[in-house]
């Protein structure tokens, strides 16, 4: 596979907390192809953000610790790079947009300064060049009167505009990968639609690959080519976008899709709900982490954790049970 941009294998990350070790990511394998948009879906605490932060080594160590795995980016392991090298990758080749645009912008620095910083650092532009490029970038993300607004501070921007600035900043050095961590969660629906539209447009213009982390199966349906569903620190399903919605294989994905009300439906069906709650990860799960909430559960699920296996072409799931007929897989 030549067009593979990022290949992550066996990633494990833990946090040492006063209550014990939290096993946040427990062996995650995935690949990202050039130009592809990968959606990573899961509920809070499933390990989706920690996975991406680990790859960029943005986990605070301690208490965090990347205990195993590799993340190959253009022939080099991000997890083994020197601090100097990884700093060049961050913001330069792989950049990130965070959920909360208020806390991720520096409140005492003007927007112009914050935008110019990576340009001068990674691309070696002069102050004037950086300023001109900043204006271009702000225009590109649809901020009106861009030149005037460089002097403004983050609090003078609305939530949606701040997120546009974050995106401008992330794209400023023409990265190959953009990691967007719940970029629209804090925004209203009409603003969310604006941001999604913007990212789709920029993806076509710039051609970068995107990892879009979200808990919203609706947003993912509008942007992603492929989706990884995470639960309990594992990827439990990996599928092309259409397959996932039309033919979910893992009981958790089936439950998650069933628990969403259908906006088009006239009638009032009771929502399908998954009983119980996501696991606390104080122990590394050696059985299927979803077993306590699963209605297809069989003895095997409580003994051995199912690996992520290809069940249909290009569609992987980590489940012992064939949810279509209830039979147990042996693999």
């Amino acid at each position: 596979m030549t067009d593979e941009l990022l290949n992550v294998q066996g990633l494990e990350t833990q946090f040492n907390t006063p209550e014990g070790i939290v096993h946040a990511v427990n062996g995650v394998d995935f690949t990202l192809k050039e130009g592809e948009t990968l959606g990573v879906v899961g509920e809070s605490g499933c390990g989706k953000s920690v996975t991406m932060l680990s790859i960029l080594r943005l986990i605070q160590q301690p208490p965090g610790k990347i205990v195993a795995g590799q993340a190959m980016f253009r022939g080099k392991d991000l997890l083994k790079m020197s601090n100097e090298e990884i700093r060049h990758v961050r913001g330069g080749q792989i950049s990130m947009v965070f959920q909360d645009p208020m806390t991720s912008l520096n409140p005492v620095m003007t927007i112009g300064k914050q935008l110019a910083e990576p340009l001068m650092l990674h691309l070696g532009l002069t102050k004037e060049q950086a300023r001109d490029r900043s204006i271009e970038l702000l225009e590109q993300v649809g901020i009106p009167r861009a030149a005037d607004r460089l002097k403004d501070y983050p609090h003078q921007y609305s939530g949606g505009m701040r997120q546009r600035v974050m995106i401008a900043m992330a794209l400023s050095c023409a990265p190959q990968i953009l990691i967007a961590d719940e970029p629209t969660t804090a925004l209203d629906v009409t603003i969310q639609a604006q941001i999604v539209e913007l990212v789709i447009r920029l993806r076509e213009e710039v051609g970068m690959a995107i990892i879009w982390i979200t808990h919203d199966l609706g947003v993912v349906a509008s942007v992603a080519h492929r989706v990884n569903v995470m639960y309990g620190g594992f990827i439990i399903e990996d599928s092309l976008i259409d397959d996932l919605y039309r033919n979910p294989l893992h009981p958790y994905t089936i439950g998650l899709l069933g628990s969403l009300p259908q906006i088009q439906s006239e009638g009032r069906k009771r929502l399908y709900s998954i009983d119980g709650m996501p696991p606390m990860l104080y122990k590394k799960p050696h059985s299927c982490p979803f077993a306590p909430r699963c209605k297809w559960v069989v003895e095997k699920c409580r003994l051995v954790n199912p690996p992520l296996i290809e069940i249909e072409e290009g569609h992987r799931a980590a489940c012992w049970v064939n949810t279509k007929d209830g039979s147990v897989r042996d693999v």
Partner: protein, 344 residues
């Protein structure tokens, strides 16, 4: 849920303005018109959904109904009693009937109180139970919201978000209220937990014959739980209709844009339809646009819209809209959601 013609709550031209003070002598220089003249009714046994984006005044409306904010003008009638004119003590007694559930289950429960104390507080405040009886009632309420009564002496931090919301619901139910204002009760919860809480709301409504004002920004959830839906924008209700009517046949341009912006969990959907993406942000409620409030972002706006505020008119039976441009689609036919979004 059919036979509910009896009106429980009637809101008439409700306004809540918050003063803005400036300077050393704290002179009032203006006001934030958070709610600027809304009227609607809630019938007994129904769920009225109130949707809108942040800052549109939906929470303020909810709080003003419960009299947590003193309305600047207007009336809130509960069984024909005007709550706005009530003195403190009669209003306090009225709160037995009208309760509220808050958005953030982390902030709305006192971390130093046990679940028992939290749920018992309203019972004690109204002298409805004491001693053994109190514990029995608290356990009964915990069972009602599907919480294990053995957890009665635990503290809020020992519970998950969904369980905490159940505690908040139990507290609201303690006094057997008739009407509950649910202010974004599921927005802070995970997807798989949201469905659990929504199902609980529906079960409780049937069991206890409750009436809800359900405030939310999640339009698909609102459609699911509501009988009728009101859409707010910048302090006013722009459209109000039956749940299916408003989703199938939105007549206000804002409702149309809002509906088309909903993320739908179906990739097919995005290939079929084009979205109406609104430009810009919501204007400041301290200085709302003259005339129609939506005109600065409205794709259909012209000079007429600057002239004055449109009347909140009943364009079809039970379907209210505040827009000069809204027209009954003719010939009158069933327009599906997808068709409507493309129509623009």
């Amino acid at each position: 849920m059919s036979n509910h013609e009896e009106t429980l709550i009637r809101v008439e031209d409700l306004k809540v303005h918050f003063p803005i003070y400036r300077g050393v002598i704290r002179r009032q220089v203006g006001s934030v018109k958070a709610v600027d003249g809304v009227s609607f009714q809630v019938k007994k046994g129904e769920t009225l959904g109130l949707v809108g984006e942040s800052g549109c005044g939906k929470t303020t409306t909810g709080r003003a109904i419960v009299q947590l904010y003193k309305p600047t003008a207007g009336h809130v009638y509960f069984r024909d009693i005007d709550l706005v004119s009530l003195k403190e003590e009669p209003m306090r007694l009225m709160r037995k009937e009208i309760q509220m559930i808050f958005q953030d289950p982390y902030a709305s429960l006192n971390p130093r109180m046990t679940v028992r104390d939290i749920i018992a507080e309203p019972l004690l405040a109204f002298g409805m139970a004491t001693g053994k009886e109190l514990d029995t009632r608290v356990k009964e309420l915990m069972r009602l919201v599907r919480l294990d009564p053995d957890f009665i002496y635990r503290f809020p931090h020992e519970f998950s978000g969904g369980q905490r919301q159940r505690i908040g619901i139990a507290r609201a139910l303690a006094l057997n209220p008739a009407f509950i204002v649910c202010d974004e009760p599921i927005s802070a919860l995970d997807v798989s937990i949201q469905a659990q809480i929504i199902n609980l709301f529906e079960d409780l409504q049937k069991e206890l014959n409750l009436t809800y004002l359900f405030i939310a920004h999640d339009l698909s959830m609102v459609r699911h739980i509501s009988d009728r839906v009101a859409v707010m924008y910048l302090g006013i209700i722009v459209e109000l209709a039956d749940r299916n009517e408003i989703y199938n046949n939105p007549l206000h341009p804002y409702t149309q844009a809002l509906l088309s912006a909903i993320p739908v969990p179906d990739p097919e959907h995005y290939r079929r339809r084009s979205r109406i993406v609104l430009e810009g942000d919501v204007p400041s409620p301290a200085n709302p646009p003259s005339g129609c409030r939506f005109r600065t972002r409205c794709p259909k706006a012209d000079e007429e819209c600057e002239k004055g505020r449109p009347e909140f008119r009943e364009i079809l039976p039970g379907h209210f809209v505040e827009c000069f441009k809204a027209e009954v689609p003719s010939p009158l036919k069933e327009v599906t959601f997808e068709e409507n979004s493309i129509l623009k």
